[in-house]
Symmetry: C2
Subunit: 291 residues, 2 copies
């Protein structure tokens, strides 16, 4: 049984929501790289973020991945073209799949985008939605990430904060906005809470779900996970595109590997919360002191 | 008129509460260095923090400072001896002055220390209080920094979070604790709110106030700010110790210089809130690309 090997990269734990969404839809061998020693990326220059992201890309490519997912809004917003140029495998970011899904579901062609301050300042989602012919109102929600990392998922404080942020966003957004975009990889954890608070007519699009869908589509179109081919045959025929039925691939064969640049213990604790399953095997990696 | 030149170093804006407390007590020329591009320090190794802090020390020493204040809990906790060894001027950290003030005011010899997760993990305050013969109960309050940076100083959400954190701390702490230590440089901004919530019998000691007091004492004992000496004379007699009356030094002569490694605009906005006065002149510095 040959499963695709997917590399997932984020500055921290947020990308685990993308990993979770993918794992639910797509049996594969997953290698997750969290650059936890150098987070947050949001305050760093585009050049620095690109340098870090390309270092992570090299590390994951050395694990023989077939596809790389940049499960980090900042890295996607600031460095996607540079990463794509440096990578030897197909690369998927989180911004474009989210924008494409909004374009699919919005009737009024207007959306509210909630994200971190860094993602809002980059205007990456606004620009991507513009390219799809939609208007976007962006709202920074800087307290959501620390609230999620504190574990206050279904918590009165988080609900109060969400009511304030959404209230402000709705006040400033055009009335016809009919989609709420969760443009931060931490936000899927509070999606049920946001669903309760958001106006009933608004649809919620989260970038983890939409990225997973984009990856599934890309993998499904590629031959490298054809169940009847040997590994050697796949290696030589990777460019042929044969649609496959992913349901044929049993989930129990998949593996998960985690690599982080900072404390393994803190990552394990947060990862267990993000993935909703025990995470035991996490390896520490020091990229700064590699040649 | 010769005023002392004081360098203040922090990873971000938090150290501005220390600067504010000093400026209220001590007329001086202040140079503030905020390493905003590389914050937070809390997740980084002791070696990395020491390297960054020593780089900042060199930069501030090039501004001819007479004294260096490490207005950063993480840098003090992880790298104080290394910074002191590398510096050519006297160095004051934030931990020891806070512990000394607690030792002065506590009758029951027991305190509750609230701080960031990184400071709590370092146990720097617990160890410093032990050296003064006190016991300490440490409690991490990770949401306070983002709440202060969001500007929610007197805000119902911050009050609710504070009630939860203090409630948990009081439940676990020994009953006789009679001092609450604000062991994070962001916390003085919510000191009035914490005063309302904390039990009436508890005294509040904040590390900004106590550090300012320690610096004032140190400067007052030194000759280099003697008002009757010329700059050249002071330079040669810096080792002589002559007590001076700080009230003789008019505040209008002092200057404030700010240097940051990341966005100047974000720093200006936050600094204005932290200092309670308009901050206009902030210079961007790139330490990473200096030889």
């Amino acid at each position: 049984m040959i499963l695709p090997r997917i590399g997932v990269f984020d500055s921290g734990v947020g990308g685990l929501t993308v990993l979770k969404a993918m794992a639910e839809q797509l049996p594969a061998h997953y290698s997750y790289f969290g650059d936890t020693a150098r987070l947050p990326y949001g305050t760093k220059s585009a050049e620095t973020v690109a340098r870090y992201a390309i270092g992570a890309t090299r590390f994951l490519e050395a694990q023989n991945i077939d596809l790389l997912v940049i499960a980090c809004n900042t890295a996607t917003a600031l460095a996607f073209p540079l990463i794509q140029e440096a990578a030897h495998v197909p690369v998927v970011g989180v911004v474009e799949p989210g924008a494409a899904m909004v374009a699919e579901v919005s009737k009024t062609r207007s959306a509210i985008v909630i994200a971190t301050e860094a993602t809002v300042s980059s205007h990456a989602y606004r620009d991507a939605l513009h390219r799809h012919g939609l208007t976007a109102h962006e709202k920074a929600c800087p307290l959501f990430v620390p609230l999620v990392e504190e574990g206050w998922i279904e918590h009165p404080v988080t609900e109060q904060v969400a009511r304030i942020y959404l209230g402000e966003a709705l006040q400033q957004a055009p009335e016809q906005a009919d989609v709420l975009v969760l443009a931060c990889t931490h936000y899927p954890l509070i999606a049920p809470l946001l669903r309760r608070i958001a106006p009933g007519h608004m649809q919620i699009v989260d970038s983890a779900e939409s990225t997973a869908r984009a990856v599934k589509k890309m993998i499904g179109e590629d031959s490298f996970c054809h169940p009847e081919r040997s590994e050697a045959a796949v290696a030589t025929e990777r460019s042929r595109r044969v649609p496959i039925d992913l349901k044929m691939l049993p989930a129990e064969h998949r593996t998960f590997r985690f690599y982080v640049t900072d404390s393994v213990d803190k990552f394990k604790r947060l990862a267990t919360r993000f993935l909703g399953r025990q995470v035991d095997h996490v390896e520490h990696v020091d990229l700064e002191n590699r040649g």
